[in-house]
């Protein structure tokens, strides 16, 4: 996963496109051995919500003019069913099953990587210009700035988690694609695109709803900047001679006036307008699609209700299944509220503290929700690890990186072993597997804490340098 980072670090001579295409070819090779790899039945890779096998089942039911949600098999969106469903039914002679769906996953991954790369470019340009406007050009010269977009895209493409997800018959690549699309649209200032991505992503997997805050911040201000206070101080001290810098900045449409803490209300209002249009559109399509099978209420109950009430307690890498298998029934609702509010509790403080870095805020939200969501899979980790690589420059001094790396490697190897000991060998029990799930959650917590503190330290450093320059 980190190897590509390094390759890129060594300079651009390795080339983004070479590695990206290599990764696509690697995936294409892997999808020829789906039966051998048997990934689609791994609890780490496919969850009840994202499994394509379940989607195929739902499509089959629908073909028999039964409700696709009958029998608690399928829990995804009806739109996805209409788009991907026919693909699951087509069998190419002599080719592995689900070949077309796998191809869709590969394409989704590739587009996702490209979008991440574009987002990285925008962020980097914004970063450079912000520093310039603060008068910290020396900082840019001293440290070689890494092409964070390329690195992030390659980390996303070559992350084993992403590859497993892509090969393992999953809708996660598609869901990730829409999350990234929304963030890209927001950072590029394309309001309809941002709204579209956000609406579809939330429709598909519900948890990206919380991304509305980073998206609004991205649209309202601009891509990530150092704390806004610095610009105010700077402006206060500066004379008209420095206006030229600002003019220079304004040449770029993407980073409108980074030096001023203006909030573009009109863009936010536009965003909500677009979002409501898209929501209405999606709902109408869904209503048409599930008209004969109980309508929209049934759909909400079977998709979002399924996610929120944690009906399926089959083991996964999350922490909820074990808990709800143990808890008494009359406490169940209470703990459901507790667990879901956990995610919501963290939204506001983080939004206040990190409001000047909306993209980073989105990364933190994604990590937290992948830690606490009801049916997590490694596809979520793949997304936030790719997002994290967008901030290589800022997170260069992150603590415990080696420890975290070892932890991720260790847990991701140990978890299947424990699952095997429990389910197949019969020599272990559920506690063995759950222990690795808890360790995984702990590592995610450490990752969030350390990355946030590294980011805040980075901001502090910039502030200090501003002060030294003034003084």
């Amino acid at each position: 996963m980190e190897e590509e980072t390094k390759n890129k670090i060594n300079g651009k001579k390795l080339g983004f496109w070479k590695w990206a295409i290599a990764s696509v070819i690697f995936r294409l090779i892997l999808i020829y051995f789906p039966q051998n790899l048997n990934l689609s039945s791994r609890p780490e890779v496919s969850t009840p919500v994202t499994s394509l096998r379940r989607l195929a089942e739902g499509y089959w039911l629908k073909q028999l003019s039964m409700s696709p949600y009958a029998g608690s098999m399928y829990h995804g969106s009806p739109l996805l069913l209409s788009v991907l469903g026919p693909l699951t039914a087509i069998k190419v002679e002599g080719q592995p099953n689900h070949l077309l769906c796998s191809l869709v996953s590969v394409i989704a991954d590739f587009i996702c990587a490209l979008l991440i790369r574009a987002t990285g470019c925008i962020l980097q340009t914004a970063h450079g210009q912000n520093l310039k406007s603060l008068g910290l050009e020396t900082m840019l010269e001293d440290i070689e700035i890494m092409p964070s977009g390329d690195i992030a895209a390659l980390v996303y493409l070559w992350n084993p988690f992403t590859i497993f997800t892509c090969v393992g018959f999953n809708t996660s690549p598609v869901e990730n694609l829409f999350v990234v699309l929304s963030l890209y649209g927001a950072s590029a200032g394309i309001v309809p695109l941002a709204a579209f991505g956000w609406v579809i992503a939330s429709h598909l997997s519900l948890y990206p709803v919380v991304l509305v805050i980073p998206v609004i911040l991205l649209l309202g201000y601009c891509p990530d900047t150092p704390p806004r206070k610095l610009f105010l101080q700077r402006d206060f001290q500066k004379t008209g001679a420095e206006r030229s810098i600002k003019n220079h900045v304004q040449e770029r449409p993407l980073t409108n006036k980074p030096a001023e803490a203006t909030f573009f209300w009109w863009r936010v209002i536009l965003f909500f307008l677009w979002a409501s249009i898209w929501i209405a559109y999606v709902l109408i399509l869904c209503a048409i699609s599930v008209k004969e099978y109980g309508g929209l209420p049934e759909m909400f109950k079977r998709t979002y209700g399924f996610i929120l009430t944690v009906k399926d307690l089959s083991p996964n890498i999350g922490v909820l299944w074990y808990f709800f298998a143990e808890v008494f029934d009359f406490f169940r609702n209470f703990f459901l509220i507790v667990f879901h509010v956990n995610i919501l509790f963290m939204i506001l403080p983080l939004a206040i503290r990190l409001n000047h870095r909306p993209c980073f805020l989105a990364f933190v939200y994604l990590t937290i929700s992948s830690m606490l969501k009801s049916y997590p899979s490694v596809g979520d980790s793949a997304l936030y690890l790719g997002m994290m690589a967008l901030f290589v420059n800022e997170l260069a001094e992150m603590q415990f990186s080696f420890f975290l790396f070892c932890g991720y490697v260790g847990v991701s190897l140990l978890s299947p072993v424990m699952h095997n000991l429990w389910i197949w060998r019969g020599t272990g029990n559920a506690n063995f597997y759950y222990a690795t799930a808890m360790a995984y959650a702990c590592f995610q917590i450490i990752l969030v804490v350390e990355s946030v503190s590294a980011m805040l330290n980075h901001d502090r450093k910039i502030r200090k340098q501003c002060r030294t320059m003034e003084g």
Binding site: N10, A396, Q399, F402, G410, R425, G426
Partner: protein, 827 residues
């Protein structure tokens, strides 16, 4: 920023303290780990029956003399067959008898399956196997399966009795085991208390006992009959008068337990009849301890048997073990005199015996090869053991037939009755344990302490090296991305914390290489008509070529002009040690014994290694000693060395052949043993490590971890995907490895036409002779003493290293002497 921080919390201070004194701590921990391993026999607990429902021995045995007489008649009838041309006489007879008793019966035909090693299938478990083209009807094995439906059960559960026999040439002992099963079967067909079906599998062991049982189990669980398209033709010729018999495959319920009953030809040296229990299944899995407990309890208390488990006999006379036992006994007495509550001492003889048993238990689990046909059951989560009865005197099989039938029959009846009482699967007692004697065991909680102590230094050393590397040279950290001189404008260094990425990349590349080389034997094996020696040489050459290739690809991405180059090895070592730690921990969950033995070899290796070039620069005594240690550990850790030394110790050095290692490795891999991976990884890692150690310092450390991680990783991948619901058997290549009496032998591969030959079964006492015999079978093999070869190779390396040390090219010692192979030239 850090200076003005208040004192960190106690736990962090403790961690920092440990890291700063890592050398001391690691030495102490390692010693403690080894000591506690030796103390394990003392720490063993007495076994106890954990599942209350079993109630062994609570009912009076119902097996009467009438049943036994019937069994005796059965035995005599079997032995009265003079010629067994088709091998169908005994199955027919058994069928008739079972039908007379009112049981259901069917025949299960199978062919030995030649599982070819396939790279993907190695990870995924066995495929269906390939049926050879030119087989004859005679090469079918025919298992006879009799089933009694339980009067009080619902047919959902079953108990399996297995009696292996050779249908082509039956011995009196095998006939006796069939007689025992028959006597029991006739009793069980009448009893009213049965609530689980009884399945009697008379396994035709002409292709090996394991093959027969495994193929029956495979068909039982997959409900397919294989691709035996010609079975009808053969059925017509072989089974003409079996019309009235049901021809389909008969099923009972899920299996609660399985017992393999064998009678041994050999006599014991004790005054009582002896019962030997074999329990180890593939990859170090063990059956539930309760099963062993009830057998042990009923045999000792019910029938007056002497119960044994396997031992390593040579350890019984080891002087060092005896003196250690004396020391422990003394200490125990001392402690007992201080406080009567502390009575942990055990007598010397008991200690030595327990240690020998423990060592055998560890060895068998680590090898990962099942010790008998019971191993096939464990792959389907069925608890099974093999009970081997050896009578008092060798001639007594004839005279005491009745007595043996009665006692063993009652013993098995008691076990069946206990298991019959079970309401759930075996789950109460331990699955993870080591036996120190039939009635003593070391549980997972105890032996893990020894292992944890042994590997505890690894993370500590990794952490301390890591903190050294990141903190000691702040000026070098600037050079991470561009190797320009450190600029002093920025006080804060760039990405200190990501410096390890380079090292991680190196480790990853080596892992990749080792994975490729692990898969190479598959392709080497495709070459027809080559001796093991040539195969091994081809394999070595290919591995080296791959190494060269990967190095070309990966390039020297290390900033070779960096100043930090000399300290880079600490990071590399840190990453490798961390990888080794992860690998060992993984392996300890998969197969404890392999992990423990691996840790014994690896941990000292990980802790002592330092680039030899650095040592050579220093030229002190300490450095010399350290270098010597390195060499010794590398030599010891090299799997072929270990293999040949062990083998030489067992059978003498004069019979050794170069190709033996190939054979051995091949047998391991055909058993899907995780140890196989360990072996192979070890080889190439070590090679690699060795080669580069002399050339450039940072390459040096990598090789350690690779082996461990790949041990863990491959075992992991294999295990992860292997056990799908319906597959997961242990494929046995019948040609290469045959089981007899719990020992596996390096048997020469017979040609396919030889398949119909009766199996040679090696016995424990005949081990030495049979090994010698085996060695003689190969004609083309060369009589190279391989350890000499490796030694010479290492010496060569050593000389080169010394010349480097002498000075001229200390830093740029990239061009080795011309004696080296071409691949090293770029270094």
């Amino acid at each position: 920023m850090e200076e003005d921080k208040p004192k960190p919390r106690p736990i962090i201070r403790l961690g920092l303290f440990l890291i700063s004194h890592s050398l001391l701590v690691s030495v102490v921990c390692c010693t403690a780990g080894v000591l506690s391993l030796l103390l394990l026999p003392v720490l063993g607990k007495n076994t106890y029956i954990s599942e209350n429902a079993l109630m062994p021995g609570s009912a009076r045995p119902m097996l009467t003399n009438d049943d036994v007489s019937e069994g005796e008649r059965f035995v005599n009838q079997i032995l009265s067959f003079d010629t067994m041309s088709t091998g169908m006489e005994i199955p027919k007879m058994i069928t008739d008898h079972i039908m007379d008793l009112g049981g259901e019966v069917n025949h299960h035909k199978f062919l030995p399956q030649f599982n070819k090693f396939h790279p993907l299938h190695f990870f995924l478990g066995p495929d269906a196997g390939t049926v050879p083209e030119n087989y004859s009807c005679l090469s079918y094995g025919v298992n006879t399966v009799g089933i009694i439906r339980a009067p009080r059960g619902d047919g959902k559960e079953a108990i399996v009795l297995v009696t292996p026999y050779n249908s082509l040439k039956i011995t009196r002992a095998e006939a006796l085991s069939l007689g025992i099963a028959y006597a029991l079967f006739s009793l069980l067909s009448r009893v009213t208390w049965l609530s689980k079906d009884i399945v009697w599998l008379a396994a035709d062991s002409r292709h090996g006992e394991y093959t027969a049982v495994a193929s029956w189990l495979r068909d039982y669980h997959t409900a397919s009959f294989g691709d035996l398209k010609h079975s009808e033709i053969c059925a017509a010729s072989n089974l003409p008068e079996m019309k009235k018999m049901h021809n389909g495959f008969r099923h009972a319920g899920t299996m609660a337990a399985a017992l393999v009953i064998k009678v041994s030809n050999r006599s014991t040296e004790f005054e009582k009849d002896a019962l030997t229990i074999y329990a180890e299944a593939s990859n170090g899995q063990m059956p539930n301890l309760d099963l062993i407990n009830i057998v042990n309890y009923l045999a000792v208390h019910g029938q007056g048997y002497r119960v044994k488990v396997e031992k390593i006999w040579s350890l019984l006379n080891a002087w060092w073990l005896k003196s250690l036992g004396q020391l422990i006994e003394m200490l125990g007495k001392l402690a007992g005199s201080l406080n009567p509550q502390w009575n942990f001492g055990i007598p010397v003889s008991e200690y030595v015996e327990c240690t020998a048993t423990l060592a055998s238990s560890l060895y068998n689990q680590a090898l990962g090869v099942p010790t008998g046909p019971h191993g096939a059951f464990r792959d389907y989560q069925v608890d099974a053991i093999t009970m081997e009865i050896s009578p008092k005197f060798s001639s007594s099989l004839n005279n005491r037939q009745h007595e043996i039938l009665l006692h063993v029959g009652r013993l098995v009846e008691g076990v069946v009755r206990s298991v019959n009482n079970l309401l759930e699967k075996f789950h109460q007692s331990f699955f993870l344990y080591l036996l120190t004697s039939p009635s003593r065991f070391v549980s997972v909680g105890v032996y893990m302490i020894a292992f944890a102590l042994l590997v505890a230094p690894l993370p500590l050393v990794a952490a301390s090296l890591f903190s050294d590397a990141t903190k000691s040279n702040p000026d070098a950290e600037e050079d991470k991305f561009a190797c320009k001189p450190a600029s002093t404008v920025q006080p804060a260094p760039t990405s200190t914390s990501w410096k390890w990425l380079y090292a991680a990349k190196q480790v990853l590349i080596v892992h990749l290489w080792s994975a490729i080389v692990t898969l190479l034997p598959y392709f080497v094996d495709q070459i027809p008509d080559s001796s093991p020696t040539t195969k091994l040489s081809i394999w070595i050459v290919l591995s080296i070529i791959t190494l060269l290739f990967l190095d070309l690809f990966s390039g020297s991405s290390f900033p070779s002009t960096c100043r930090s180059r000399d300290t880079e090895w600490t990071l590399l070592k840190s990453v490798t040690v961390a990888a080794a730690f992860i690998g060992l921990c993984l392996m300890s969950v998969i197969n404890f014994a392999t992990a423990e033995i691996g840790a014994l070899l690896l941990v000292p290796m990980c802790l002592t290694t330092v680039p030899l070039r650095l040592d050579n620069k220093v030229n002190t005594l300490r450095a010399l000693i350290r270098g010597a240690c390195n060499l010794i550990f590398i030599f010891v850790g090299f799997p072929p060395t270990v293999f040949f030394v062990l083998k030489g110790a067992l059978e003498g050095f004069d019979n050794m052949r170069f190709g033996d290692f190939w054979n051995w490795a091949e047998s391991l891999w055909s058993w899907n043993s995780a140890t196989y991976i360990y072996m192979y990884e070890n080889i190439r890692l070590n090679c690699r490590r060795q080669v580069f150690a002399w050339m450039s310092s940072w390459w040096y450390e990598l090789f350690l971890g690779v082996l461990t991680i790949v041990i863990g990783l491959h075992g992991w991948v294999k295990i992860m995907v292997m056990n799908g619901v319906d597959d997961g058997g242990c494929p046995l290549d019948g040609r290469r490895l045959r089981l007899g009496c719990g020992d596996f032998s390096w048997e020469q591969v017979p040609s396919r036409t030889e398949l119909d030959r009766p199996e040679r079964s090696w016995t424990v006492t005949e081990l030495r002779t049979c090994m010698k015999r085996i060695s003689l079978y190969s004609h083309r093999a060369q009589m190279i003493a391989p350890h000499m070869f490796f030694l010479a190779w290492y010496l060569l390396r050593f000389l080169m290293g010394a010349s480097n040390a002498n000075g001229r090219e200390v830093i740029d010692s990239r061009v080795p002497s011309k004696a080296t192979l071409a691949i090293y030239c770029r270094y």
